[in-house]
């Protein structure tokens, strides 16, 4: 129990530090968002509106940084992340809430697929090292060495433009109304296949390679030989003893990659014009939309922290040595 309390305290402190840094960074950055907003609207906002915009964004009061910091925390606990400059006047939380499911759905599924397939392949290749199966390694490494945007463009050229199998961009058929119907879900899957496929292809080699190398290391451990000597079936030795121990480092990198799902697929969302959070961050940065940026950073931070907690728990379940008992 003390173990979980200690870990819990650790995460609370990390969360506090992340939020604090997140609070200060935009305030250190140069530039005036109100001027930027007026300039971007190219005269459609009269310059007299500047004062009212400042009031709206809360930039009129001359409060101390400390007071702002406290207010920020208070608003944060109410789920109020401010109003987006770009999607004015939509609240940041609504903007993020719209984009987040798309990213988590697509990239999450692609990451889980990539991890599962890659780890299984790695198990097989590592177990039968030195056979033809090893030739799969350079092939998969090749695809991960290719820059992702280029791989994605090639995939679009071949599968969307030339063959016409998949749409080149977007997340669903725009003639449909988003709702829980088979037609709409089918369209989402259809639009998501190509982006997901490119993510899997470009990330799978890491899983294969990691698992394969751990399998090779673990296979020469005495307990695997003992399992063989016990007369267990080949499957039982391979999965129960070799893979069961080889998967431990994989699990922690998997949990970490879950954390990066939220922020790390910027390129994919740009290439496929996918309406996820990466694309949102990209527009926020381009438009100096500080509240949105801050909100997205917060979401990414929380996602990484949650992934870390998941990794901690998973590791505790899988490896008794990390559990502090008694």
């Amino acid at each position: 129990m003390r173990f979980f309390l200690r870990r819990g305290l650790f995460y609370v402190i990390t969360f506090w530090a992340a939020v604090t840094i997140n609070f200060f960074i935009p305030r250190i950055m140069p530039g005036d968002p109100v001027r930027a907003l007026i300039a971007r609207n190219q005269g459609r906002i009269p310059s007299e509106a500047e004062a009212s915009l400042r009031i709206l964004f809360g930039l009129d009061q001359d409060t101390t940084l400390w007071q702002q910091y406290l207010d920020y925390w208070a608003l944060l606990f109410r789920g109020d992340l401010g109003i987006s400059f770009t999607y004015f006047p939509t609240p940041v939380s609504d903007v993020i809430a719209q984009a987040l499911p798309w990213t988590i759905g697509l990239v999450g599924i692609a990451t889980i697929l990539s991890f599962t397939i890659g780890t299984l392949l790695g198990t097989g290749i590592g177990w039968r090292r030195g056979t033809w199966a090893d030739s799969l390694l350079p092939i998969s490494t090749f695809f991960s060495a290719v820059p992702y945007f280029w791989l994605a463009l090639i995939a679009i050229t071949i599968f969307s433009v030339t063959l016409g199998w998949f749409p080149a961009s977007g997340s669903y058929d725009r003639s449909l109304i988003p709702m829980w119907s088979w037609e709409f879900v089918g369209s989402v899957i259809y639009y998501g296949t190509l982006p997901a496929l490119t993510i899997v292809i470009s990330s799978i080699s890491g899983w294969i390679l990691g698992m394969r190398n751990m399998m090779v290391t673990v296979s020469s451990e005495d307990y695997v030989t003992v399992a063989q000597a016990k007369g267990l079936s080949e499957r039982a030795v391979m999965f129960g003893y070799a893979a069961r121990n080889a998967i431990l480092p994989q699990v922690s990198s998997f949990a970490l990659s879950l954390g990066f799902i939220v922020g790390g697929t910027l390129v994919m969302e740009i290439v496929f014009s996918y309406q996820g959070i990466g694309y949102l961050l990209f527009t926020a940065v381009a438009a100096k939309d500080y509240p949105l940026m801050q909100g997205i950073f917060l979401v990414i931070t929380v996602a990484v922290l949650i992934a870390n907690i998941v990794a901690d728990i998973a590791y505790g379940i899988l490896d008794p040595r990390t559990r502090q008992e008694g």
Partner: protein, 364 residues
């Protein structure tokens, strides 16, 4: 069991009722055109109920022999010839090297169990020890319930002096000595007839070594299995083994009752090995190491492989490879064998060399 008076000789004649016969076993390392011949025509017989010690310097092929005989040799090891005959309780002989995968799996642990060198790494760190003992049992007793297998595992732990509530412990919660006991309990769970122990006590401190060795001796007396005990520690073998085989550079150079090896070594290497550790009782004597180092197995030539380090070598040793024969000493146990040209005067003479007698040091 006291230190300097090992139990006398071969209590049971090994050749009469063999349980495991290794015949002309050869092992190469490397799949290319120029493999290293690590074992060359090694023959060894283990009698029922016997403790056979296998000793030799590091890298002489002791462990390779154990792995090859159980077909657990990791790549790039390759068994190139020979047979390993196992005689079951019903008297049926099977060649382990020619079993198909299915029968090999069935035979493992049931007929022949093995305890490995790394006491620390022989147990998977992620499973409780009860489960690890039980899954070996369940693999061979398909009808058995999990609860029964666990009960059997508890029984085995008690047998080696560990409290059964340790079944729910993970390996990292046990000391090194306990882990090795768990391994022994695991190996004996199916009452195998042969137990191969590859340096089972090397990683343990001396006190723990002693406890483990005594435990093995006691269990052997109770359960009546045979043991091949591999170690580089000859003094330990003299205590536990009925018979000792000395290996050098992938061959067996002497095979005799343990008291005979201890008091009347017939091979220069055995003699040198015995002089490299101090006796606990009796007159003090000068300790002499063995000059030189073991030969590179990849560059073995003909003749006797020990000749460069041997005090008794002469020109015949470079030309003729010695064979395992009865020693050329009157009143010796006729079952003991040694591989030294000093004991083969006729062959040396027939090859046109000057036959030299057995030196006094090796005829005492």
């Amino acid at each position: 069991m006291t230190l300097t008076t090992p139990e006398t000789g071969a209590r049971r004649a090994p050749a009469d009722d063999p349980v495991l016969e290794i015949r002309n076993l050869s092992v190469d390392y490397g799949y290319d055109d120029d493999p290293v011949h690590v074992l060359r025509d090694v023959s060894l017989t283990l009698g029922r109920g016997e403790v056979l010690g296998l000793a030799g310097e590091s890298g002489c092929g002791k462990s390779t022999l154990a792995y090859a005989a159980t077909r657990l040799l990791p790549p790039p090891g390759l068994i190139t010839g020979g047979e390993v005959l196992f005689t079951g309780r019903d008297g049926r002989k099977t060649d382990i090297l020619r079993l198909d995968d299915q029968s090999l799996r069935e035979s493992r642990w049931q007929d022949l169990a093995i305890v490995f060198q790394g006491a620390m790494n022989s147990l998977s760190p992620v499973y409780r020890i009860g489960r690890q003992i039980a899954d070996g049992i369940l693999a061979h007793r398909p009808g058995m319930s999990k609860a029964d297998a666990m009960a059997r595992a508890a029984e085995m732990l008690e047998l080696v002096g560990i409290s059964p509530d340790r079944l729910r412990s993970y390996p990292h919660q046990l000391s090194g000595g306990m882990r090795q006991r768990v391994m022994i309990a695991m190996a004996l769970a199916l009452e195998p007839q042969v137990l191969i122990m590859d340096e089972p006590t090397t990683a343990l401190d001396v006190v723990m070594q002693r406890q483990i060795v005594e435990q093995i001796a006691e269990l052997r007396d109770r359960l009546g299995f045979s043991v091949i005990f591999i170690t580089h520690d000859v003094s330990l073998l003299i205590e536990i083994a009925d018979r000792i085989a000395i290996m050098y550079a992938g061959e067996i150079v002497e095979d005799a009752a343990s008291l005979d090896v201890y008091q009347r070594p017939r091979h220069p290497y055995s003699s040198a090995l015995l002089h490299s550790f101090p006796p606990l009782r009796g007159p003090r004597r000068e300790l002499t190491g063995i000059p030189g180092s073991p030969p590179d197995l990849a560059k073995l030539g003909g003749g006797c492989h020990f000749r460069d380090r041997c005090a008794f070598a002469w020109d015949a040793c470079a030309a003729l490879a010695p064979r395992l024969t009865a020693p050329d000493v009157a009143d010796d146990d006729p079952r003991r064998t040694t591989a030294c040209l000093r004991h083969e005067p006729e062959r040396v003479a027939a090859a046109g060399f000057e036959a030299k007698p057995v030196p006094a040091e090796l005829a005492g």
